[in-house]
Every structure is written in C-alpha cells, then in structure tokens.
C-alpha cells in the first residue's frame, strides 16, 4: 500500500518528493542497525545500564532540544510558502546573484535560531523562488553567526575576544564562499525540494500553510531522529580522551576537531563551551570545531538529505566541509 501510494505520487509531480524517498528506507534501517549494533557491541557488558542510559539520555536530549526550533523553522517556512508573494521574495534580495549571496549571509546574522530551524526555512525560500545560492548561504550563516551564538562564544572564551571575531569572520566567509561556488558551479536540478502543497493552486492559503507545516515537519523530523541516534552512539562509544594524543599535531588536530564537530551534533549556541574544553588543541583547531559544527553535522546531513534530496547532499556536504576547514585555517593563521 505504502509503496504504491509513494510511486504514484512520484509520477504525479515534477518536483518529486526528493531523493529522500528512495533513500529513506535504507537510511532509516541503517541508522537503527548502527544504533543497535553500536550499543550492543560495546565491550562485553554490552547493554550495561549506565551506557544504555547515557545513550538514551543524549539521544532524547538532542531530539527534545531540536524539536521547538524545528517547529519554529517549519512554521516560518510554511508562512513563507503560503503567505509571502513571489515578487516580494524575489525583490528582497539584489537581482545580481553574486551580490545576493553576501546579503543573504548578513541576513543570516539576524535570525537567532539553531541549525534545525534554518533547513526548512531555506527550503521555503527556494520554493518561493529565491536563488539557491542565496538560500544556501542563509542556511549556513544563520546558525553560525547569529548574536546568541556570538555571545555564547564570548562567554566561553573569556579574555579571548579574537575567538569570537575569528568565528564571525570564518563562518561568514565560509557561508559566502559556498554561495559563490554554487553560483559558479551549482545546478538547480541537484536540489529536489519536497513536492509541495504549494503545487496545488486554488486551495486556500490557510490549507497550504498547515499542510506545509505537517509535511515539512514529518520530512525533517524523521531525519532529525536519525542524526540524534547516530550522535548518541558516538557519544557513548568513543573511548574517553581518544583525541588527546592527536592534539599535538597542528594539521591533524584541526581535522580531528572538525570531524568531532560533525559527529557530536552540538547546537551552535552551546558548541563554544565544548570547543573551549579541548584545551590541548590549538586555537585554530578549536575555531574549526565551531565553524564546521553549525554547517555540517550528522543531524544536519540527515535533514538535508530529507529536505533537498540525496543528489544535493552528496555534493553540498563535502564542499561545505572543505570550505569551512580551509576558512578556519586561514582565519586562524591570520588572527589567532
């Protein structure tokens, strides 16, 4: 039944429901298997109470922390889709695409949300005809450089304002660089937006709005759970202090903390405190942790696969990761 319904839908819309469909089953299954295997194979005391308990607590906390922001994000996104006139969305940004990208990056500074909110909002902007390059720059910049995040960084690195400045410059730089790269090389057909309630003209705006909210929430929410499961496994499976021995090497240190940022899925409002705890690492490595985390992590990758499709994610995620690391190294070299 489910399969028939889904494939029927696939043929019915130009903008199919995205790579998410073909991939969703396998990814979901994989996540469950990894989670079960990860927890199950840990040491001899496989399902020992404390480890399982910590796993469950970290998993639930990632989901519970993200849910309000995800709801806010899908409400905003649906409001954009249902109520903002197309002309307004197009006119809000400079016509010149190269110029629209930095403007979108600056706009990202004003939205004090976490990364969970910005994925659906970027999708809503694209569905309204905003150039993908600008929407993607917004997607990357909004969680990375908003005032709340910068204030948290200020507090987490007392007496080291250069960390906050470095984060602002490197994150904004990486977001804009990715936007420009997309302007040069990106192809719109890689992005497969969730087939939308928007497609049904003639329905009331209210109906479009509430269908879009449920639809976007279900789309991104399931993938959020995937990211939370994977990240919670990492949290309880990694041996403590495994990274300490790698801290001495300059290059490896940056790569290790960038990788950790991807695996740990910490909210951008909290990651500065965790970055500050990596005291053995160079400031540049700590900066890379804070620049990469809000742009690329397991939960975000999963949600981007669900929202924009696999063809998009396999291109976008590696590029963002490389640009974010390079930008951190560059800014760290000049500033720190």
């Amino acid at each position: 039944m489910e399969r028939a319904a889904v494939s029927g839908h696939d043929h019915g819309h130009e903008h199919g429901p995205g790579g998410g469909l073909g991939l969703a089953g396998p990814i979901a299954l994989l996540a469950v298997l990894v989670a079960v295997a990860g927890v199950g194979s840990l040491a001899g005391d496989a399902l020992d109470g404390p480890r399982l308990g910590a796993f469950a607590t970290v998993f639930i906390s990632i989901v519970v922390q993200a849910l309000p922001f995800l709801v806010l994000g899908v409400l905003l996104s649906a409001a954009i889709v249902a109520f903002v006139p197309r002309e307004l969305a197009a006119r809000a940004l400079p016509r010149n695409r190269a110029l629209a990208v930095p403007v979108a990056g600056a706009a990202g500074m004003a939205l004090p949300g976490c990364e969970c909110a910005s994925v659906p909002v970027a999708s809503g902007l694209m569905r309204k005809g905003v150039a993908p390059a600008a929407a993607l720059t917004f997607l990357l910049a909004a969680p990375a450089v908003n005032p709340i995040v910068l204030a948290a960084t200020w507090v987490a690195f007392p007496g080291r304002p250069e960390m906050t400045a470095g984060r602002l410059v490197a994150s904004l730089g990486a977001a804009i660089a990715v936007g420009w790269l997309w302007t040069l090389l990106g192809r719109t057909e890689w992005i497969r937006l969730p087939g939308g309630p928007e497609a049904h003209a003639g329905r009331s705006r209210w109906l479009v709005f509430r269908r879009a909210v449920s639809h976007d929430f279900l789309h991104a929410g399931g993938y959020l759970v995937v990211g939370g499961l994977l990240s919670a496994v990492i949290n309880v499976a990694l041996p403590p202090h495994w990274v300490d021995s790698l801290a001495e090497q300059a290059v490896l240190g940056v790569l290790v903390l960038a990788l950790l940022a991807v695996l740990m899925c910490i909210c951008s409002e909290a990651d500065a405190f965790v970055a500050a705890s990596f005291t053995q690492f160079s400031p540049t490595a700590q900066l890379a942790f804070m620049v990469v985390g809000p742009m690329v992590d397991l939960k975000l990758i999963a949600m981007q696969v669900g929202t924009f499709g696999r063809a998009f994610a396999v291109r976008f995620v590696p590029v963002v990761l490389v640009v974010a690391i390079l930008m951190s190294v560059l800014v760290g070299w000049v500033l720190l």
Binding site: H9, A54, A56, V64, Q65, S214, F217, A270, F273
Partner: protein
C-alpha cells in the same frame, strides 16, 4: 503515508514533549529555560495532529479526492522514526546523565576569577555552594575565599578510576549532549554507590585544584548524607 499515520506520528512527537513536561523529566535533557518553548512546540504539534486526523476522517467519509487519494505528499518513511524517541522514553526509564558520563567527560577551564578577586562566600556555617562554584574558586586564584570555610554541596558520587571517588555534577549549556562534569575529589569518607546523590559537608584541602593541572580540587569530608535526586540535576 496515510493521513491517519501522519496524525499518529505528529501525536507521538507531541506526547514525548507532554510526558517530559508533565513529569518534569525535561530537566534531564535540556536547560530549565526551554520549558516555554517545549510547551509551545507541543501545542503546535497537537494542533497539527488534530487537523491531520480530521482530514483523515473527512477523506474517509467523502472518498478520496482527486489529488489526495488518502495519502500525503510522499513523506519519507524516515518519518516513522518520529515514534522512536517516545518509545525510547517508555522503554528506557528516563534518567539524568550520571557517573558513566562524569568519568568520561573533560571540563573546560573554569571562567577566570573576577578582576578584583572573588567576593567572600556568604555568611553561614556551613555555607551552601555549588560544585562548579567550588571548583572555580579553588582552581582560579588559589582559593583564598574557600580557606577556613565549611561548605555543603550537593552532587552525585562518581568512582575515580584511579581509586577513591569524586563528588560530581554535570554542567550543561544547552542540552545533555553538551554536558561536561565538575569534579571534586573526596577525602576522609567511604565511597557511596556510583550515581548516589549526597549532600557533602566538608572543607577545602588547601592548595588542591590549581597545582596538579587536572583542575580537580579536593575536599575533606565531615558528613556525607544521602539525599533524593534533585528535580534539576544539572547546573549551568
């Protein structure tokens, strides 16, 4: 995915939030300030679930309409995973992070002492302080404000892998995924079971905390009394 199934999935996300808010267990996962956001998100999800349920009902009554033949817009099957968090909470009793995580975590250096040094602790004998405040005063500025004072602190017991035990408290900035421990080595008292909550009355062992590079000060325990787990198990 049928509208009825969509309604159930939306409802399961709402039920997760409802349970955690009603029982106060949300404090095991996120900071107290998140409460209004959790309530608001839960209400939105309930409303969406009710509307989706009504759609399912209307469609069942009226027969499939042309472009909504009983299914939505290809919600990925990953959406089924929205039921997993609720199942997890039902199957694995919610508990705050404890000794397992306190042994593994590594804390960032405490915030440095204020410009003019720490203000003296308030009057009181013993005087109540938090574990993280005790650690900060001992490690930053050498602990003159702790010298000669009897303090009482609440936390849970964590076995030190190298012997002895720590009085610990997990510190969170946003949620339990970013938690790190504040630890104090306890001297002069037998170790309670791991994860047991206690109120410890004692005095700072002068010189500990800043000299060893580990940032773990020590306390000489006078009394270690078992207490109930506090409603808000984490500190900021």
């Amino acid at each position: 995915m049928s509208r009825a199934l969509q309604a159930i999935l939306l409802l399961s996300a709402a039920a997760l939030l409802a349970r955690l808010v009603v029982t106060g267990e949300y404090l095991f996962y996120v900071k107290p300030g998140m409460l209004p956001a959790l309530v608001a998100a839960g209400l939105v999800l309930v409303a969406l679930a009710v509307l989706a349920g009504r759609d399912a009902w209307v469609e069942a009554e009226a027969g499939p309409d042309d472009d909504h033949a009983g299914h939505g817009h290809g919600e990925p099957k990953a959406a089924l995973l929205l039921a997993v968090p609720l199942l997890t909470v039902l199957l694995i009793a919610p508990a705050p992070l404890g000794a397992f995580s306190a042994q593994r975590g590594s804390p960032p250096p405490p915030a440095p002492a204020p410009a003019g040094g720490f203000a003296p602790l308030p009057a009181g004998d013993p005087v109540e302080v938090t574990v993280s405040e005790f650690v900060r005063r001992a490690t930053e500025g050498g602990g003159p404000t702790l010298a000669g004072r009897t303090v009482v602190m609440t936390g849970f017991a964590t076995p030190n892998p190298d012997g002895g035990w720590w009085l610990t408290r997990m510190i969170i900035a946003c949620c339990a995924a970013d938690a790190y421990p504040a630890r104090i080595a306890v001297r002069g008292a037998d170790a309670p079971p791991a994860d047991a909550w206690v109120a410890l009355t004692g005095t700072w062992v002068e010189g500990t905390g800043s000299d060893d590079g580990l940032l773990i000060p020590a306390v000489d325990a006078d009394v270690v009394a078992p207490i109930a787990q506090p409603a808000s198990p984490y500190q900021r």
